[in-house]
Amino acid sequence: MAYDDYLDGKPVIVTAALTGGVHGKEAHPNLPETPAEIGDAAAACEAAGASIVHLHARRDNGERAFDAERFQAVTDAVRERADDVIVQHSTGGTGVPTDLRAQPLRTDPAPETASLDMGPLNRYDRLTSENTRATVRTLRGEMRERGIKPELEVFNDGHLNEALRIVDDLAEPPYLNLIFGPGTLSLPHPRSLLTLVESLPAGAEFNVLGFGRHQLPLTTLSVLLGGHVRVGLEDNLYYRRGELAESNAQLVERAVRIAETLGRPVASPAEAREIIKI
């Protein structure tokens, strides 16, 4: 049971989501966009206790990039600057064809893990990130070929159904990211998190992502429930109400402090590899 993992002092994996694919420097001047900025942020987050960095790529003007070359530049910059941090590439991309979304899987070396969106997500007033079953199947197939561990992105309860459809085909343990926030995300409330955690497949490892002001309380609850946490400027720009976070590393430092205060050590990258089996 998940709470037993808390009582046993199981290490917490902290993932830092550095950049994202939605907002950029127009929203936060310190959000890293260039490969060098992302590499520096990854190293700072690793030093602060993150064992996984979740990466997106951007053009020089901050706009989204999906090509393998740009992801290669980003992942090279991270590997040059960081020590042993686990690299996770995003395969998300609202409105973007599946083949382009597979490009981040084609770097050398391949990322150790990659995100795999489990279903649709509304954006703005007129966009939906569709994530059809066919898209999921295609991306998952390429991850399998390249030995990349998928992190199943559960944007809402219905996406847990989708995850359960494929879970038997995945290597143990299944690794899920439970996501809470506005719109088509799961309702951002502790009871939603409790319900989802109760419904997870046996042996699953789970990560919690709360958007905006929900990042702090829901990641804290995840620590108590034996889960892992994801923090960073992709999901939350603020340190507290009305005060922008200084950096990704500042958010990681707080997550580490909370986990340790609550009695769970923070996983090193080697321990994280052991926990999620990559």
């Binding site: 694919g21 907002h23 003007n61 706009e63 609202t94 973007v96 382009l100 703005y124 007129r126």
Partner: protein, 68 residues
């Protein structure tokens, strides 16, 4: 359809924000555009400003052309 939105400009500076590289700026909203929306502004990946941007549609509805 134009291959990018007529309200789109690239600017380094506006409203007290200044960047090293020119970034997408929406003259209808009078604000810098989020990177994800900039793909709509530029009609990339099959996205299109005339169908996928509510700001464009509202701006056009407020013009004579939009009322026809």
């Amino acid at each position: 359809m134009a291959d990018r939105c007529p309200y789109l400009e690239y600017r380094r500076e506006s409203g007290g924000k200044r960047f090293e590289t020119e970034r997408a700026y929406c003259t209808a909203a009078e604000a810098f555009v989020q990177p994800m929306r900039a793909d709509v502004c530029n009609d990339r990946y099959g996205l299109g400003h005339a169908t996928d941007c509510e700001i464009f549609l509202e701006a056009e509805a407020g013009t004579d052309a939009g009322r026809d």
